[in-house]
C-alpha cells in the first residue's frame, strides 16, 4: 500500500544518509584504505548468511561487517550507481548478469582479483582482464510443475520451451511481469536466447494464445496461482506450471513439516535460464582494504557452502559441496539458456517494451 511504501522509501533515504554519514566518519580519516574496523556490504533484500559463518569471518579478519539491504535487485544496483561518487559501503553484492553491463558501464566497481578466483568454475568467469566483478553464486530460472496435478491427469509434465505452447498445456502456466520481476525477466531472456532476437515474439504470441497468465511478482505467482506450493494449495490455485527457480523444489522439502520423501514439485529442465550474481569492490570505497577481505571471504569454501541453504543458490567455486536436498530434489539444469551480458544490455529495454505491448496489452 502506498503510504507504508512511501514511509519505507523515505526511511530508506534517511538510512542512506545515516549510513553514508557513518560510512564517511569511519573512513574519511583513512583514505588510504586501512585502519577502519568496519566494512560495509551493500546488497539486495535476498542477502542471507549463517550467523556462525559471518562471525567466524569477523573474528579472523578483525573487521565488523555491516550489511545494508537496499531494496530489490534492480533498485539496489540503481542506487549504487547514483551514489557511486560517495558510496554507502565498500562492497556491493548481488548484481546479476541481466544488469551487469549497466553497473560496469557506469563505473560502479574498481579492479580487484579476489583470492580464490582461480577456483571459480570456468563457465561463470567474466571480465577476466579487469576483474571488476567476481562471480559469487548462480541459479536457474525454470518452469516448476506440480507433480500431483500431472500424475492425476495422466499427463507428462512439459520438458521444454516448445512443449509449453502445446494444446495439452493450455491455461496451465503462470509467469511474472518481465518489467517488474526478476524471474519474469529471466524467463523472457531464456526465450530470447532460445528463439533468437527475431523469433521470441512469435513464441510469445503462441504462448499467449495458449493461455499463459501473467501476474506482477514471484510471490503472487508462486504462493497464489501455482497449485504445487503450500500457499497455492490453500488458495485453491489452478495453475500447475509456474516460472520459478530450480532451487524451489528443494525448498518445498526443506521447509515442510514433516519432510516428505519426494519433492511435491519438479523442474522442467528444458526451460531454464541461468542467472549469475556478482560482487565487486565499489569504486570509491572508504575501506578498500576491508572490502577486499570481504570479497575474498565471499569466495571461501565456507561461505560458498553456506549459501545454498540461506539464499537457495548454487556455489560457483569448484568442489564446493551442495546439500543433498539440492542434488536430490533440484539438480542444476544441464544445459540452461544463457546470454552474454553485453547482448542483454543492448536489447533488454527494447525486449521488455515489446514484450509488454505484445503480452499485456
Amino acid at each position: 500500500m502506498s503510504i507504508t511504501k512511501k514511509a519505507t522509501v523515505l526511511a530508506v533515504g534517511f538510512g542512506l544518509v545515516a549510513l553514508s554519514a557513518c560510512g564517511s566518519s569511519d573512513s574519511d580519516n583513512d583514505s588510504g584504505g586501512g585502519g577502519s574496523k568496519t566494512v560495509t556490504l551493500v546488497s539486495h533484500n535476498s542477502w542471507a548468511v549463517s550467523k556462525s559463518v559471518l562471525a567466524a569471518f569477523e573474528k579472523e579478519s578483525g573487521y565488523k561487517v555491516k550489511v545494508l539491504e537496499d531494496g530489490d535487485a534492480g533498485q539496489a544496483v540503481n542506487k549504487a550507481i547514483l551514489t557511486k561518487d560517495n558510496p554507502q559501503g565498500d562492497v556491493f553484492f548481488g548484481v546479476d548478469n541481466t544488469l551487469l553491463s549497466r553497473a560496469l558501464d557506469n563505473g560502479l566497481f574498481q579492479s580487484y582479483e579476489a583470492k580464490g578466483s582461480d577456483l571459480i568454475l570456468p563457465a561463470y568467469r567474466v571480465d577476466e582482464n579487469k576483474h571488476r566483478v567476481t562471480p559469487i553464486d548462480t541459479g536457474d530460472i525454470c518452469v516448476n510443475y506440480d507433480k500431483a496435478y500431472f500424475s492425476e491427469h495422466k499427463l507428462d509434465p512439459p520438458a521444454s520451451f516448445d512443449d509449453l505452447v502445446k494444446p495439452a498445456y493450455k491455461n496451465l502456466l503462470v509467469t511474472e511481469n518481465a518489467s517488474t520481476s526478476s524471474p519474469g525477466l529471466g524467463f523472457l531472456l531464456g526465450t530470447a536466447a532460445k528463439y533468437g532476437d527475431g523469433g521470441w515474439e512469435g513464441y510469445w504470441t503462441k504462448l499467449k494464445a495458449n493461455g499463459v497468465k501473467v501476474v506482477d511478482g514471484w510471490e503472487q505467482a508462486y504462493n497464489e496461482e501455482f497449485s504445487g506450493s503450500a500457499g497455492g494449495k490453500k488458495a485453491k490455485a489452478d495453475r500447475p506450471l509456474v516460472v520459478s527457480y530450480a532451487s524451489s523444489p528443494p525448498a518445498e522439502v526443506i521447509y515442510a513439516d514433516p519432510k516428505p520423501t519426494t519433492a511435491p514439485t519438479g523442474v522442467a529442465e528444458g526451460t531454464c535460464f541461468r542467472q549469475v550474481e556478482y560482487a565487486g569492490l565499489l569504486s570509491n570505497a572508504g575501506n578498500s582494504k576491508g572490502g577486499k577481505a570481504l570479497l575474498d571471504f565471499l569466495l571461501t569454501k565456507r561461505f560458498q557452502e553456506d549459501m545454498p541453504l540461506n539464499m537457495f543458490v548454487y556455489p560457483v567455486r569448484e568442489a564446493a559441496e551442495v546439500p543433498q536436498e539440492f542434488t536430490k530434489y533440484g539438480p542444476q539444469a544441464k544445459d540452461p539458456e544463457t546470454l552474454d551480458p553485453a547482448e542483454i544490455a543492448a536489447n533488454r529495454d527494447q525486449w521488455v517494451k515489446s514484450w509488454t505491448s505484445l503480452v499485456l496489452k
Binding site: 502506498s2 533515504g13 518445498e252
Partner: protein, 533 residues
C-alpha cells in the same frame, strides 16, 4: 511553525528537488523539452487517465460505503464497538502482499463471491476499487466519525423543534458542520488511491498501471531518470491542484462549532430504521474487512497445534539471524517513536495553522504538508540518496531515522485530523479565558486540549498504524538481525516452502493483533480529567 517548516524542507522538499533536477539536467542545461516528449506518448497519457479515474471512483465508493459507518460509530453504542473500531484500522498496517492474499479470498477464484454467485473480480478494476475501500474505510470512519461524535445532537433536535423535517435538519445543521471533515477524509483517500502502488500491482495484474507504478518502473527497473522526473512533476502538479482546490473549498466552510464530549452523544439505536442501519454497517464491515482478515488467521492456524507460531520462535539461521518473533519488539519501538515525532510536528503545525493571525503563507503551508502523501515514494527515496549524503547534515543516530521518515508520512494525518477540530473551537472561549487572566499555555491546556484530545488520539493512532505497517526501511537501516514485522513477513513470503508461507501468515496475524491492541490502548487513554461541558 519553524520546526515543521524545517522538518519538511530538509526531509522532503530538498531531496525531491535534487532528484528531479538530476533527471532533467543533462550536461548542465535543463531539458524541459523532455516534458512534452513524455506527454506525447500515448501509453503515458493512458496511465495518467487510468490513475485519475480509478482514484475518483475509489474515493466515491469509499465515502459511500464508509460514511454510514462513520455515523454508526459516532452516534450508536453497541457491544464491542471499541474493538471493532480498532479492527477496521488493521487493513491499514498490513503489507500489500499479504492484503493481496487476503483479498483474493473475497473476490478471487474460489473466494466468497465465487462460491455464492460465481463472480470473480480478480484482475478486474473492481478488485482494485474494493481493495481501496478495504484500506481506506478506517480513514473515513476515524476522521469523520471523530468529529461527528463531538457534534452536539441537541442542535439538530432544536431545528426539529422549530419545525424542520429530519432530512432538512440534517442537511442544514449537521452536514455543514461535517463538511470540512468529510472533505479532509475524501482528500486523504484520493491521495492514497491516486498514488496507489501495491494494490494496483497485485489485484489489477500487470495490465493496470498507475503513475506511481510507472515512476517506480522508470526509476528502479529501466533507470530512465529523465522520464521519472517528468512523471514526478506531472504527479506533483496533479496533487498540488487537488490540494489547492481542497484548501479553497474547505476554508470557506470551516466555522466554529459547538463541540461536546463524545462520551455523551452516542446511545443505543432506537426503532427499526436505526437497527437496520446498524445491521447494514456491521454486515459491510464483516464481509469487506473482517472476512479477508479471517482468511489470514485461518491459514496461519493450518498446522497442527500452532505449528507455524511455534516455528516463529526458532531462528532457522537462514532468513533471519534471530527468531522472527523478535520482530514484534522492533516494530513497536519504531512505531512509538514515529508516533511521538508525528504528533509533535503535526500538532505544532496544526496549532500554527489555526491562529487567527495566520497569514496567507502559513495557510499555504497547510497544503504543502500534505504533499508527502502525493509524491512518489521512490522519488523521495532516491532524492535522499543524492541530496543528504554528506555532513553538515550529520544524521548518525541511525535508528531514529526510521521513525523520522515514517513521521513524515504520519504528519499529514495528524494535521488533517486535528485541523477541523481545532478550527471548530470557538475563539471567544480562548479570549474569555485570556481576559480572565489565563496564560496562553493555560488557555491551550484548559480550552483546546480537552476538545482536541480525541482528535489527537485518533491522529496518533493513524501515525502509529502507518509506522507499524511500514516496510523495508528497517531492512535497510538496521542489520538483518533486526527486522520489523512487515519486513519479516515479506522475507518469508519471498521463499518457497510450506513453513515459510505458514510463518508469514502467522506473523501477519500477530501484526494485526499488535495493531488492534495498540489502537485499543490508544483509544482508552483517557486523561482522568474528562471535561464535562
Amino acid at each position: 511553525m519553524a520546526l515543521p517548516v524545517a522538518f519538511f524542507g530538509v526531509f522532503f522538499a530538498w531531496p525531491v528537488a535534487a532528484i528531479v533536477a538530476r533527471g532533467l539536467k543533462a550536461d548542465g542545461t535543463w531539458q524541459f523539452g523532455r516534458i512534452t516528449d513524455v506527454l506525447a506518448q500515448s501509453d503515458i497519457r493512458h496511465v495518467l487517465w487510468f490513475t485519475t479515474w480509478q482514484a475518483l471512483a475509489s474515493t466515491a465508493l469509499t465515502l459511500l460505503v464508509a460514511l454510514p459507518g462513520a455515523y454508526v460509530f459516532a452516534r450508536f453504542d453497541f457491544p464491542g464497538k471499541q474493538v471493532l473500531r480498532a479492527v477496521v484500522t488493521v487493513p491499514f498496517v498490513l503489507p500489500t502482499v499479504v492484503v493481496g492474499t487476503a483479498f483474493l479470498a473475497l473476490v478471487g477464484r474460489g473466494g466468497l463471491l465465487d462460491e455464492l454467485w460465481g463472480v470473480r473480480l480478480d484482475t478486474t478494476v473492481w478488485a482494485i476499487l474494493l481493495a481501496h475501500v478495504f484500506f481506506n474505510y478506517a480513514v473515513v470512519v476515524r476522521t469523520v466519525g471523530g468529529l461527528w461524535s463531538q457534534l452536539d445532537p441537541r442542535q439538530e433536535e432544536a431545528a426539529r423543534m422549530l419545525g424542520a423535517s429530519r432530512l432538512a435538519a440534517w442537511r442544514k445543521v449537521t452536514l455543514p458542520a461535517l463538511g470540512p471533515a468529510v472533505a479532509a477524509a475524501a482528500l486523504m483517500v484520493f491521495l492514497f488511491t491516486f498514488t496507489s502502488f501495491g494494490v494496483v500491482q497485485i489485484l489489477g495484474g500487470p495490465t493496470f498501471s498507475t503513475l506511481e507504478v510507472e515512476i517506480y518502473r522508470q526509476t528502479s527497473e529501466i533507470f530512465d531518470l529523465a522520464t521519472a522526473a517528468v512523471l514526478t512533476i506531472i504527479q506533483f502538479v496533479a496533487v498540488g491542484s487537488i490540494l489547492a482546490l481542497h484548501a479553497w473549498t474547505v476554508r470557506r466552510r470551516e466555522t466554529a462549532l459547538r463541540l461536546v464530549d463524545a462520551s455523551g452523544t452516542a446511545r443505543r439505536p432506537r426503532g427499526a430504521g436505526q437497527w437496520a442501519l446498524l445491521g447494514g454497517v456491521l454486515l459491510t464491515v464483516v464481509v469487506l474487512l473482517l472476512l479477508p482478515l479471517a482468511v489470514l488467521v485461518q491459514r496461519s492456524l493450518d498446522a497442527p497445534d500452532f505449528g507455524y507460531y511455534r516455528a516463529l520462535t526458532k531462528s532457522d539461521g537462514g532468513v533471519f539471524l534471530v527468531p522472527p518473533i523478535e520482530a514484534v519488539g522492533n516494530s513497536l519501538t519504531y512505531a512509538l517513536a514515529a508516533t511521538a515525532i508525528a504528533v509533535a510536528i503535526g500538532g505544532l503545525a496544526a496549532a500554527a495553522l489555526t491562529r487567527r493571525d495566520a497569514g496567507r503563507f502559513v495557510r499555504g503551508f497547510d497544503a504543502l504538508l500534505m504533499l508527502p502523501l502525493g509524491v512518489s515514494a521512490v522519488t523521495v527515496g532516491f532524492g535522499f540518496l543524492i541530496a543528504l549524503d554528506e555532513p553538515p547534515l550529520d544524521l548518525r543516530a541511525t535508528w531514529i531515522l526510521v521513525p523520522l521518515a515514517q513521521a513524515l508520512v504520519g504528519v499529514p494525518f495528524v494535521v488533517r485530523t486535528m485541523l477541523p477540530v481545532l478550527r471548530a473551537v470557538d475563539h471567544r472561549l480562548r479570549e474569555a479565558a485570556a481576559v480572565l487572566g489565563a496564560s496562553p499555555w493555560k488557555v491551550w491546556r484548559e480550552i483546546d486540549l480537552p476538545l482536541v484530545r480525541r482528535a489527537l488520539l485518533i491522529a496518533a493512532g493513524f501515525a502509529f498504524a502507518v509506522s507499524l505497517g511500514e516496510f523495508g526501511a528497517t531492512v535497510f537501516i538496521a542489520r538483518p538481525d533486526n527486522p520489523t514485522l512487515p519486513v519479516a513477513v515479506a522475507r518469508l513470503l519471498g521463499r518457497a516452502g510450506e513453513l515459510n508461507y505458514g510463518q508469514a501468515m502467522a506473523l501477519s496475524t500477530i501484526l494485526m493483533v499488535v495493531c488492534a491492541v495498540a489502537l485499543l490502548v490508544l483509544e482508552r487513554l483517557r486523561t482522568d480529567r474528562t471535561g464535562e461541558f
